[in-house]
Symmetry: C2
Subunit: 119 residues, 2 copies
Amino acid sequence: MSFDPATLTYDEKGLIPAIAQDAESGDILMFAWMNAESVARTLESGKVTYWSRSRQSFWVKGETSGHVQTLVDFRIDCDRDCLLVLVRQEGPACHTNRRSCFYTAVREGDEVELMKPMV
Amino acid sequence: MSFDPATLTYDEKGLIPAIAQDAESGDILMFAWMNAESVARTLESGKVTYWSRSRQSFWVKGETSGHVQTLVDFRIDCDRDCLLVLVRQEGPACHTNRRSCFYTAVREGDEVELMKPMV
């Protein structure tokens, strides 16, 4: 079946959540949002392209930092209201320079830092 | 540092997105939402508890189906506005009876089904 970004379910702001997973390690790298046009651009270019809610503009991941995400596989969930992009990540995915944004764990009631910024 | 669910960033509906990942395989199982109280219940009980937006009620995953999610690790992202729960998943996570909700891929412009319902 041919895929059309318009068949996805977007929220009232026209956005759909997108989870980025390292295609090699399986680690979750980050979470962001796309709109229909960024879905189309991601699939066409192979460069993961989010919609920045703070800047209200397209956000080609790594365009300024060089920490690009190359699309390896593009997945849709059962309700068609969430995306999973498997990626090849160049360097850190997080703006704190850590490989993943999910570097904090809650263990026995305390916050624990799981990883340090990359050097 | 002691963890307080009130320190997370919730959206205008009081919700925060939560990604569930299989702690063993690393597969992404599903995506849903929590509020501050479901975060607290998840951490206290060790049973992953979402907030059902459609039913507007707490949703202890697997409470009726038996397909429970036992919490293995609870993670927070850099912006404190997204959660990652690593879980031990009993049976299928998806309401379609598939192990994961992300069973559809888009490849060369076509939708491809990656997995069948569990038997």
